[in-house]
Symmetry: C2
Subunit: 320 residues, 2 copies
């Protein structure tokens, strides 16, 4: 089949775009800058202009394109393609889907970027198109895209899968960007891991993190994993705490969803088995045996391309 799909991943700085064959082969991918001026109103035209240019270059006939699938940050009404609140961009009740459809004449489907990345991983990354899947992103924050019965779950107002804001410390806990305290992302995001490392250094604990801190004036999640691998006890304790809290929370989320796979992506996932090993142990400790037996852990495979793959797959899945 000659059909093509276009995937678009809108971020606060750049917009990634890819053209895919019907089987998910990448024909071309590129980036454009995100123009946030005028509350982001020029973005749809920028996207379509850029796509038109590329399909001309590749001599692709418009009628062979099945549609455009878009991942965007924020609260989205996936049924109408409307961005209720576009985080980092300034959109409010912005008719992204309709505007892009009017420009292109193509079917346009829009969903939350974390959800789109999840179905991208499921299509061509570590997922194998499983029916029940959790894809967790451990980056600056903690996000997730969840697939149940083979479809993204968005929830009643686009908040499904916001597991970074599951409360892991009922009383106290570190303040979170959401205005509450004790959320998962305060502990297990790259930012949260770096914070715990900095606190250990400032408390004068006996750790090789001190040298890294003095050299770079700051600490990262990578510093903690590197120090732990070199035998630093304090770093190992931080990783044990992080994976215990993450394994505990994912076991509870898995008690709701019962996934066959949990995929971990984002910057922190670069630690690979140093993360997955203790995470599996913690998950097993807190999950019902049957849920643990049914669930595999993997590291995400597509990196920053998950969003464009997912956008393309959203079109493929929707138009059938």
């Amino acid at each position: 089949m000659n059909r093509k799909f276009i995937g678009v991943d809108i971020g606060g700085t750049t917009i990634k775009i890819g053209i895919f064959t019907n089987d998910g082969e990448l024909i071309d991918k590129w980036e454009i800058a995100t123009d946030k001026s005028d509350s982001g109103s020029r973005i749809p035209a920028d996207i379509w202009q850029s796509i038109e240019h590329k399909i001309t270059e590749h001599m692709i006939t418009l009628s062979t394109i099945g549609g455009i699938g878009v991942g965007a940050p924020g609260f989205i009404d996936a049924k109408t393609g409307k961005i209720l609140i576009g985080v980092n961009i300034g959109w409010r009740d912005f008719e992204l889907g309709n505007v892009l459809h009017e420009l292109s004449g193509l079917p346009v489907y829009v969903d939350n970027d974390a959800n789109i990345a999840a179905i991208g991983e499921n299509w061509k990354g570590s997922g194998d198109l499983v029916e029940d899947l959790i894809v967790v992103t451990l980056g600056t924050g903690v996000g997730a895209g969840i697939v149940a019965n083979g479809h993204i779950i968005s929830g009643t107002n686009g908040m499904a899968g916001e597991i970074g804001h599951i409360t892991v410390e009922k009383d106290g806990g570190v303040p979170c960007n959401c205005g509450r305290s004790g959320c998962l992302e305060t502990v297990t995001s790259a930012t949260g891991i770096a914070r715990q490392a900095t606190e250990a250094v400032k408390a004068g604990e006996d750790t090789t993190l001190m040298e890294r801190y003095q050299m770079n004036k700051k600490l990262t999640a990578k510093d903690v994993f590197d120090s732990a691998n070199e035998g630093d006890i304090v770093s190992q304790a931080i990783i044990n705490h992080v994976t215990d809290v993450l394994g505990y929370t994912l076991a509870n989320v898995a008690t709701v969803i019962n996934p066959s796979k949990i995929i971990i992506g984002g910057g922190v996932s670069k630690a690979g088995e140093h993360l997955l090993g203790p995470l599996r142990t913690a998950f097993k400790k807190y999950a019902l045996p049957r849920i643990n037996e049914g669930c595999e852990f993997e590291i995400a495979a597509l990196g920053n391309d998950a969003g464009i793959y997912g956008g393309a797959y959203l079109v493929k899945q929707t138009i059938g």
Copy 2:
């Protein structure tokens, strides 16, 4: 439309059966005893014999029956209608769906009883056919049926929605029937509430529960709600703890599912607003504001009939 559906709810003691019109009007309902002899192998024949008798009595033509929907306790492969492990009945890899289909010649659909009860409530109880729903049963244990994108989620091996086994106390906690400790149902089931009341009495706390205990030699969840309504401080503290833990856990589950409704059923739900009032307060405390705003709480409306309604609706939803 003249079409009928049959709903069957298999329990450890009785099997409830109902015949419904296409619009969900109950034509007749009745019960038969659950024959657990020979590992429950006679159950399908018992069910079909009883249905045949009733449809003859009501002069219903077999060809007008759209199918039979069955809720059963245990781990179920909903795709094949096979009971992997039938709790309380003795089934193991039992082809309930196929056997009942061969006896009746009708399409047969099978799912977990908690899931079936959830879609029954959604069809004709407190649900209004919402797309994203959590139905929690607070009885001897704590179970849930979850609907996302309008469909039951069962998970990869039938364990989705087993929220009674979400860990609420990471360290310590009361031993649970599942073999672990600190599960939600150890605190918020009828059994868990009664246990906390008995412990308070045995610890010599100053509470009117003492008189109830001396009179009946035991305490129930109802005793705790009744004493609390009469001003007993100890009972009020137990209810505050139970609703705090339940509201906390449901806020975390809602962060995964983002439901528009949470329906509470089971024996404990008879407390009505005395339960829902503090539960809403706790939920609001732990949930992201947008998730709280999108979610209503209600008490289940169908009681023990939810399962037969849900069985009938499963057929209606599946055959369209």
